[in-house]
Symmetry: C2
Subunit: 241 residues, 2 copies
Amino acid sequence: MLYIVGLGPGSKDLMTQEALDVIEKTDTIVGYATYVRLVQDMLKGKELVVTGMRGEIERCKKAIEIAQTGKDVAIISSGDAGIYGMAGLVLELASKADQHIDVKVVPGVTASIGAAAALGAPLMNDFCHISLSDLMTPWDVIKDRVDAAAKADFVICLYNPRSKGRPNNLHEALAIILKYKSEDTVVGIGKDVARKKEIEKVTTIKDLDEEEINMTTIVIVGNKNTYVADGRMVTPRGYTL
Amino acid sequence: MLYIVGLGPGSKDLMTQEALDVIEKTDTIVGYATYVRLVQDMLKGKELVVTGMRGEIERCKKAIEIAQTGKDVAIISSGDAGIYGMAGLVLELASKADQHIDVKVVPGVTASIGAAAALGAPLMNDFCHISLSDLMTPWDVIKDRVDAAAKADFVICLYNPRSKGRPNNLHEALAIILKYKSEDTVVGIGKDVARKKEIEKVTTIKDLDEEEINMTTIVIVGNKNTYVADGRMVTPRGYTL
């Protein structure tokens, strides 16, 4: 069996019972070095296959090869493995392989949900997830999605908001959002959620400091009704209180 | 302390370690009867405050009152408490209360993530969540969001897709989606995910049987690239394989 396991945002506290159980019972673990470090105290005595950044295809192929020998293997990633994670790639490659293997996806708490809980309750009404990484999706498609989401007043969770290689994507996305939303729209930032350096900040589009945002940050842009209650970001569900 | 705890989709396996720990150490648990049943074996000897459907405001007020006496209390809901759940309402009411209380939101695996893992990997590219319940959001606003999401080719997760009181909302939503997406677009259905009666089905918009859909079902409509690999629903991330 090949397990695809989402570890949650960072701490063992936010792993599911099933993810903990699978890692405990599986002898061979495949993962990117950063994810392996997140759970390293659980990996003593196990066979580890650790690959570098952008080694996604290699990692999946190795995990499939190991499973084809009849061994149980778990490929781990942070958050939920099915959200911009490894699950799709494993299923795509497994379906093309000559030898059939069994695959099970073990869900996890994705970064936006971890950040939202730390920030308050920003996702109480309709929301969307958009990755601002244009490595694999054309930038024009991403911009159209930002436009559509802002126009229809979704709460917007931005994944991969800003990196050294893409310093301006967040700025361009916010400029599109400002066509429809006020510059006073509440914005929540969750940086390294559930990890040692964790930072949360509730601000507005106008006051957002883009320099603070990196690839381990989730940016949540509120809808027209999102407000700040006791320092927390809250999107009302619509109850009459 | 008032804890707002997301239980995950249904089984204890998909609860986070933190949710399990909080329920174990907290003497007073507040919840809707169905959610209390999900974790009833953990509740022996605890004080339970159980309310009926649509008792959301009453439930939150009771939990806040208990926390104001200095006791620890946990208000539980299924999935993630911050996604169409209780977290927003608790924070809204707590911020209006005369006496301050500490509130902590404990995140969970929301229904769409549980369903997605069971279906394959449909959420590997940009996606949105739309609730088709128009109890608290005007139907015109919801329809505009469905239109925007379909036009920009998001994967679309539909919450509360169909009930006896709203038998036609799903049909109307699918008619809007068909303005932009082919009737052969892949659709995944997750019904009672991680519960005893769990059913998953991968179909298309054309072949979807609306009669099968109820309030404990999540409907995931794919994007233009979503396909079926070995019976599973996969949205490619865009790697060149």
